[in-house]
């Protein structure tokens, strides 16, 4: 069957694909930065010795907690990681969902402790990079440095996406289109994927009530934009959903 992989279902080739000294894992967060600019084998090995494979973590296990000493950033290889903070009133605030190929811990770089919690939502595998070491390497490798800066600025952009004043429909469309684009960039199907995060997490992230999440999605389903069965989402009308998301996503 030629259809692309449905996230987060991983076939044996992905799970077995651990990479080695000269090869990247298929979902590596850094492979594009390094390969596109032709890193030599020596530099590649320098990068790879920094990498430590972590996991699998089971759903509900923390990758790090707020206040833990910061020493490493981590790239998601498989599964979904949720980052969140607990506010002064003890309420959880969801900051984001991190998919394969994406990096967590970037917001810790300016301090010496993690400013948030990171928790596995399903079976998660990670690559951990010692931050002092990768920073040292980046000083020698302009491409790597540039890529790190790009990742950091993207992280800030994502966090502010839903701070603006948009309708419930627009925010939900932007959320789904965001997931779709990010998954497509890693070779997963952009039209079919699983929502690995719970309804309450989506609601929290979009600053909506859980009932609103369901109501909006039911309406989308009725309008033929998508089809949902339990956690499985199939986007049926990508252009219309993108048009709706445009109010939130600028491009």
């Amino acid at each position: 069957m030629t259809s692309p992989l449905v996230f987060p279902r991983t076939d044996a080739s992905v799970v077995a694909d651990d990479g080695d000294a000269l090869h990247f894992c298929s979902t590596c967060a850094f492979s594009q930065a390094c390969l596109s600019e032709g890193m030599d084998k020596r530099a590649l090995m320098d990068l790879h010795v920094l990498v430590e494979h972590v996991g699998p973590l089971r759903a509900g296990e923390h990758v790090f907690r707020e206040g833990d000493p910061f020493g490493a950033i981590a790239a998601v290889r498989a599964g979904t990681v949720k980052t969140y903070q607990i506010d002064r009133n003890g309420h959880e605030q969801v900051l984001g969902f991190h998919l394969p190929g994406e990096v967590i811990g970037l917001n810790a770089i300016h301090g010496d402790r993690y400013p948030c919690n990171a928790i596995a939502l399903d079976t998660v595998m990670l690559c951990r990079f010692s931050f002092p070491k990768i920073a040292l390497l980046a000083a020698r490798l302009p491409n790597l440095q540039q890529h790190l800066f790009r990742l950091m600025s993207h992280d800030i952009g994502v966090a502010s996406l839903f701070a603006r004043d948009n309708t419930a429909d627009e925010r939900m469309a932007a959320f789904l289109i965001g997931l779709s684009r990010r998954l497509a960039a890693r070779g997963f199907s952009p039209r079919r994927f699983q929502l690995t995060m719970a309804r309450t997490d989506i609601a929290n992230y979009l600053r909506q009530a859980p009932e609103t999440v369901s109501r909006v999605l039911r309406r989308f389903e009725k309008d033929g934009l998508l089809h949902i069965k339990q956690r499985d989402v199939e986007i049926l009308d990508l252009p219309r959903l993108e048009a709706l998301a445009l109010a939130v996503l600028r491009d």
Binding site: M197, R199, T200
Partner: protein
């Protein structure tokens, strides 16, 4: 739809008269394990609440008591005339309702309620109405137009006026046990039930506005004859129930103690038994009924028949239903739940169920978490049992598999069934022949991964016909 008489092929029915599951669930109950406990059920409920659009709920309530033992019965029931036991049971049932309803988000509507047993009308109509009140308080009920409330009734223990009380409590469907009107048969199975009282209850269901009445008949009972059963069918069809179930009696006295009181010499021969089924199918065909699947028939305008035409029929522990997938919560002794990708069952003995509730626990006895393969096979078997056909491309798309590769073994097992004319295999799908439709579970068994191990032990499943 093919005419009903084309369903019947005595030679095939004889050849495939082997024990087989009824597939009200896949995997079937023998696969459940005591490793699945209360904490697992809580986790599954939380997972289903986390779905972006959580599924609606179906409630099954098991009332285990019967006043008098019918000898053919294989159900989990307790024989007593002490009505106080019903009240004591309800006290605990309400505690179970309170504990379990707390697991589910309040915006999950209840769309289906079914009372089974035992004999639900062992309870008084006032008690049954009270149960409905408790349920309405603890769960969010869908509006009446989307709500199916059904109850199994023993016509011997309810009056037409009491049917009105049940209708007022919200019931819109009833299923009546009849089995056979022949007095010899009724004596042999210890269930004396007059035609008059039965017809009066059917009539009362109509008078009080119930949308649908189902009647259960059984063939293969002791002392049953073609003439007697034929008369039973005539009387029943005269009343034109919306749905009819014609069950095959499975004599398994070693599994079901009450059946030990049936004299095996009184059982009809295999030839007579097949004749009884043929008689039923012929008469139902003449009366204009359509075949739904397994043991079920319906009038063409009934919602089940309409759903089947749309390809929108479903099957769960309560049998065939028009409700798209819901999470099923079973309450009471021995009840089975199907929450997300899991099955779980309450203790089958009353003492264990009572003890768990008295100690403040959800009474989970056993269950299982479904793996991806289980979910795929459950969908395949459900489509087969409801449509009598499979569309490989559709199923492949839904589960992101190449159907013919994934099910190469099953398709190989189907070849002899194709040679026997039960099923037609095409490159993009399969379809049960009209002769194969009465033997759907034989076809479904080819897709059951657990069957070789399940079949190795003593017969746990009733015969297919």
């Amino acid at each position: 739809m093919a005419s009903l008489s084309s369903l019947f092929d005595p030679e095939l029915l004889r050849r495939y008269d082997t024990p087989g599951p009824r597939y009200t669930s896949y995997p079937t109950a023998p696969q459940f394990s005591p490793g699945f406990q209360e904490a697992d059920l809580r986790e599954m409920a939380a997972i289903t609440n986390g779905d972006p659009i959580p599924r609606p709920l179906s409630l099954y309530l098991h009332i285990p008591f019967c006043t008098s033992p019918c000898f053919y019965c294989g159900c989990n029931r307790i024989i007593t005339r002490d009505t106080a036991r019903g009240a004591a049971y309800l006290t605990r049932l309400y505690r179970e309702v309170a504990m379990t309803s707390a697991l589910f988000d309040r915006d999950r509507d209840v769309e289906q309620v079914h009372f089974g047993g035992g004999t639900p009308n062992f309870l008084s109509p006032a008690q049954i109405a009270e149960v409905m009140d408790v349920l309405r308080r603890q769960f969010s009920f869908a509006p009446a137009s989307r709500l199916d409330c059904s109850i199994e009734l023993d016509p011997r223990f309810i009056t037409p006026d009491e049917v009105g009380e049940l209708a007022a409590a919200g019931f819109n469907r009833a299923s009546l046990g009849v089995q056979d009107f022949d007095p010899d048969v009724q004596r042999a199975v210890n269930r004396i039930q007059s035609v008059e009282q039965t017809l009066a209850i059917i009539e009362a269901c109509r008078t009080h506005g119930l949308q649908s009445v189902n009647v259960d008949l059984i063939y293969g009972l002791p002392k049953q004859s073609l003439e007697g059963f034929s008369r039973t069918l005539d009387i029943t069809l005269e009343a034109r129930p919306d749905r009819l179930a014609i069950y095959s009696y499975a004599h398994l006295p070693s599994m079901f103690r009450p059946q030990q009181r049936i004299n095996a010499d009184d059982l009809p021969s295999p030839e007579v038994k097949l004749g009884l089924l043929q008689c039923a199918i012929d008469k139902l065909g003449e009366a204009g009924y359509v075949y739904i699947g397994m043991d079920h028939f319906a009038l063409p305008g009934d919602s089940l028949a309409l759903a089947q035409q749309r390809g929108d029929l479903h099957r769960n522990f309560m049998g065939y239903t028009t409700h798209a997938e819901s999470d099923l919560l079973g309450l009471g002794v021995s009840a089975i739940s199907h929450i997300g990708p899991s099955f779980s069952q309450n203790p089958r003995d009353l003492g264990s169920w009572e003890q768990a509730i008295d100690q403040g626990h959800l009474p989970v006895w056993r269950g299982m978490r479904l793996e991806e393969d289980d979910v795929i096979r459950a969908d395949v078997i459900q489509r087969l049992m409801c449509d009598g056909a499979l569309d490989y491309r559709d199923l492949g798309r839904r589960h992101v598999i190449d159907f013919t590769t994934y099910f190469a073994d099953a398709l190989a097992r189907l070849r002899p069934l194709e040679d026997d004319g039960l099923v037609e295999l095409a490159p993009d799908g399969l379809r049960a022949t009209s002769h194969g439709r009465l033997l759907l579970r034989i076809i479904a068994m080819c897709f059951d991964r657990y069957l070789p191990t399940a079949a190795a032990s003593t017969p746990r499943f009733s015969r297919t016909v």
